[in-house]
């Protein structure tokens, strides 16, 4: 009987992977279509408004196959992707693989640090405030509301002004070093942490109303023990789901944080690419982030099984 659940898990993962490929194909196709719809010729976005000679213009058109029908360009693109080749950027004198590869690590570091910090803060805050007195909860909710609604730009500037320009604790730009990671990670953790705290506290409060809590308490378990050992597990499920979604959303939407803290990253890469209609880079980023998102979600599905043993036996 012990094997069946794990075989089921393997099959579930395979089904998920198959569905993911379809999702990825859809994402790539949709963004290809969207970018085609943007007015303006690609060759113009490569040369900008510059005074290029006709020979150079012809060279660019030939090099990127821009004179071919859109469907043929799409076909070539799909075919190359199947062979692991993301193509070549129109603007960067780099292959898309190089361009993304050089930025991805920085983005992953920042996203991971930001979410980890947010999870930590949310767990501590939620454990401390769930089903506490009115005033404690009101204060906490107030802070969370501010945290969720404060614009990322403003939070970033504020952090820099206080902790870098005035106190001098952290550099305004630290590249990828640990000291340079603190402030940007905080900037991300503020809204994310606030959101997660709300969700987690709600989960905790619901769990604390359950009969098993009463049972645990009646066995003489301390309040802290009940919260940590029993309620937290229940509260974690929705939080993990949300954190997975946030990971995907953040990876694509870190432009502001990257810009303010002068960091490398996917966000700035993709903004520049969209502006200049650098099709191969946009597609590459869509594909890579979608893949990561899918992988993270599969990993989270597996994590559920760890968090809630009951799911292992379920259909």
């Amino acid at each position: 009987m012990k094997r069946r659940p794990s075989a089921r898990v393997v099959r579930a993962v395979l089904v998920r992977l198959g569905a993911s490929v379809l999702v990825l194909w859809g994402a790539v196709t949709a963004s290809f279509a969207a970018l085609q719809a943007v007015p303006g010729e690609v060759v113009d976005s490569i040369v900008g408004t510059n005074d290029v000679t006709p020979e150079v213009r012809a060279q660019i058109i030939a090099e990127y196959g821009l004179d071919r029908p859109v469907l043929a360009q799409y076909g070539t693109f799909l075919n190359r992707i199947l062979h692991g080749d993301l193509g070549r950027s129109y603007r960067l004198d780099q292959t898309v693989g190089e361009a993304i590869g050089s930025q991805l690590a920085a983005s992953l570091r920042l996203t991971t640090a930001g979410i980890a910090l947010a999870l930590l803060v949310a767990t501590v805050l939620a454990l401390l405030t769930a089903r506490r007195g009115r005033r404690v909860r009101a204060l906490s909710s107030g802070i969370e509301l501010v945290g969720v609604s404060v614009p990322g730009f403003w939070a970033g500037i504020l952090l820099l002004t206080v902790f870098s320009f005035q106190l001098g604790w952290f550099p305004a730009t630290g590249g990828s070093g640990p000291s340079g990671l603190v402030l940007p990670a905080c900037a991300i953790a503020i809204p994310v942490g606030a959101l997660l705290t709300q969700v987690m506290r709600e989960g905790l409060e619901r769990a604390l109303e359950q009969p098993f809590v009463l049972t645990a308490r009646s066995r003489g378990m301390s309040d802290g023990g009940v919260r940590l050992r029993h309620a937290l597990r229940h509260a974690l499920l929705p939080v993990v789901t949300l954190a997975g979604w946030l990971f995907g959303a953040l990876l694509g939407g870190m432009v502001v944080t990257e810009q303010i803290f002068s960091r490398e990253g996917i966000g700035r890469l993709v903004v520049g690419a969209v502006e200049s209609k650098d099709l191969p880079v946009v597609m590459g980023v869509v594909l890579v982030t979608a893949t990561l998102y899918v992988l993270v979600n599969i990993a989270l599905d597996l994590l559920y099984l760890v968090i809630d043993p009951r799911l292992r036996g379920a259909r």
Partner: protein, 555 residues
């Protein structure tokens, strides 16, 4: 610096330099700095140390032969020397070329080259290197977005002997010396050029006072001193290696962050001090600033003279005279940028001061002009109408690559224009939408600044041949066409008589002002803020700072 469509210093839209047509006296008038010389505080030059410069943009590509961005010029200058040097007053000086001869028909340029110069990779600089560089620029595989366009009639370079290079053009090409003085024609090591565009995009090798030590896209670049440097330009303040041991450009895109980094002492100098921070800077006893007005076309609005309401000169005049641009500019930029009153910046050779007085702000007169033009009605919202149609004009704008708060500027102008009955619509879109509509002339008004050292910038802005035709994006945004103006512009290229040129350019400036083919807004100004421990920041002719003569004192 290279002027760009949007004058952006961000790497999105590259620009065009088309350097000065003829190298003449460039009067950098009205370019007052913050007052006293930088050297007054930093004292005498000090050897060694690292200067950290916070910049507000990075080039897409380090190779200036390919990249047209002004920011590429800033980044490549520490590494690349030029054949000749152009000073801020327009004078030419020897650099890698000790002397040069121009044939009478202006088709052949013979350079005598300096001996004993070596690239930082150890290879020697010689006539073959000059040939390799010019050939590299015109090679279609380089995909040069500007430099090649500046030497279109280029035929070839002959290596006469190791230290003599002869450059030939198929037709007279007077702008050549001005062009080769710019970084876009900087001399690179032929060995590095051979490595191809991908390598050059990230690493350029020259004979300059600095060598690239580490380049990290989206973060910055570090240069280290070239200890063997003995061949600075003849107009530099010193000879021999650079004073600084290291020079570092740190990318700080966000204005407030860049200023905060300077104010808190994390960097030694910053590019583009936000005008709103100037007062704060002045209050900090450790800081000072210097500025240069860029020569060439001001940041101007250009009404489309070929279609819509602005095809009527009276409506164009009303739009120019009826809005108090001076007050808008003064308030928005806290006085940091000078409001413009002519098509050209006052620091441009050939600037005609009399155009400043050809028109003035007069809302009442503007109203009369609109009445004359038939826009006599008023609708419920207060806009003027003619035959039931509202006086609406569409302006092209791309918010994402806006710099110097030009989007806010447009909104304030929009509000002011409403007072005299104009419905100014700001059409915001992507760069590609902009380019598509720009090429077809699908707008009523658009705006650019156009930096060039010489009044020949007028040819880009107002010559009939410079109207975009859909395949070529050019800079006559007003789509202005006038036989007299075309004639004067052509004649100005044909003569070396400075007085005659100035007279011809003055005629052009007067004519386009009379025809209201341009609405002057403000003069782009490069503002460098720096700690008083920094000395010797000098300026290129095209108004960007250079660091060969710079130093930093201990405290």
């Amino acid at each position: 610096m290279a002027p760009t469509l949007f004058m952006t210093r961000r790497p999105v839209i590259p620009g065009i330099l088309s350097a000065g047509a003829l190298v003449l006296v460039l009067a950098l008038t009205g370019c007052g700095g913050s007052g006293d010389d930088a050297a007054a505080d930093a004292g005498r030059p000090v050897e060694g140390g690292t200067l950290v410069y916070g910049v507000d943009g990075e080039p897409l590509d380090l190779d200036p032969h390919k990249s047209p961005q002004d920011i590429a010029a800033l980044w490549a200058r520490p590494v690349l020397d030029s054949l000749v040097a152009l000073d801020a007053r327009g004078g030419l000086h020897p650099w890698l070329a000790t002397s040069w001869e121009v044939s009478d028909d202006r088709k052949t340029y013979t350079f005598k080259l300096r001996q004993g110069v070596r690239f930082s990779d150890g290879t020697p600089f010689d006539a073959a290197a000059v040939k390799a560089n010019l050939d590299h620029i015109v090679d279609p595989a380089t995909k040069s977005q500007m430099a090649a366009g500046q030497i279109k009639p280029y035929q070839g370079t002959e290596v006469v002997d190791a230290h003599t290079a002869k450059v030939t053009f198929s037709k007279p090409h007077a702008p050549f010396l001005a062009a080769v003085s710019t970084v876009f024609f900087g001399i690179q090591s032929p060995a590095q050029l051979k490595k191809g565009p991908d390598a050059l995009a990230r690493q350029i090798v020259g004979s300059g006072p600095f060598v690239i030590d580490k380049y990290t896209p989206r973060q910055g670049i570090v240069y280290k001193r070239n200890p063997d440097y003995r061949w600075g330009p003849a107009n530099a303040a010193h000879t021999g290696p650079a004073h600084l041991e290291r020079l570092e450009f740190k990318l700080l895109n966000t204005d407030s962050v860049r200023f905060g980094a300077l104010n808190s002492g994390q960097v030694d100098a910053i590019a583009s001090v936000p005008p709103s921070s100037l007062k704060l800077l002045e209050r900090n006893p450790k800081l000072k600033y210097d500025k240069r007005q860029a020569p060439g076309g001001n940041y101007n609005y250009y009404p489309n003279t070929t279609k819509g309401p602005f095809s009527d000169v009276r409506v164009r005049r009303a739009f120019r005279d009826g809005v108090d641009y001076k007050t808008v500019v003064g308030k928005l930029y806290f006085g940091a940028y000078q409001a413009a009153s002519s098509p050209l910046s006052p620091s441009t050779l050939g600037y005609d001061k009399t155009t400043e007085t050809l028109w003035r702000y007069d809302a009442t007169a503007a109203g009369r002009l609109l009445d004359e033009a038939g826009w006599t009605g008023r609708d419920a919202e207060g806009y003027r109408t003619k035959d039931g149609e509202r006086l609406t004009v569409h302006m092209l704008s791309v918010r994402t690559i806006d710099r110097e708060q030009r989007g806010t500027l447009a909104e304030q102008i929009q509000a002011e224009a409403k007072k005299i009955g104009f419905d100014l619509q700001i059409d915001r879109g992507t760069v590609n939408e902009y380019i598509a509509r720009f090429g077809k002339g699908d707008y009523d008004v658009a705006a650019i600044s156009w930096q060039r050292a010489d009044a020949d910038a007028l040819r880009n802005l107002f010559d009939t041949g410079s109207i975009s035709d859909g395949t070529r994006l050019t800079q006559n945004i007003a789509r202005y066409s006038d036989k007299d103006v075309d004639g004067w512009l052509a004649r100005a290229l044909d003569t070396n008589d400075q007085a005659a040129r100035a007279e011809l350019y003055a005629k052009v400036q007067k004519k386009v002002t009379e025809d209201a083919a341009v609405v002057p807004i403000y003069t782009p100004t490069y503002l460098v803020g720096f700690a008083k421990t920094v000395g010797g920041i000098s300026w290129e002719a095209q108004a960007f700072p250079t660091f060969y003569d710079s130093w930093k004192t201990g405290k």
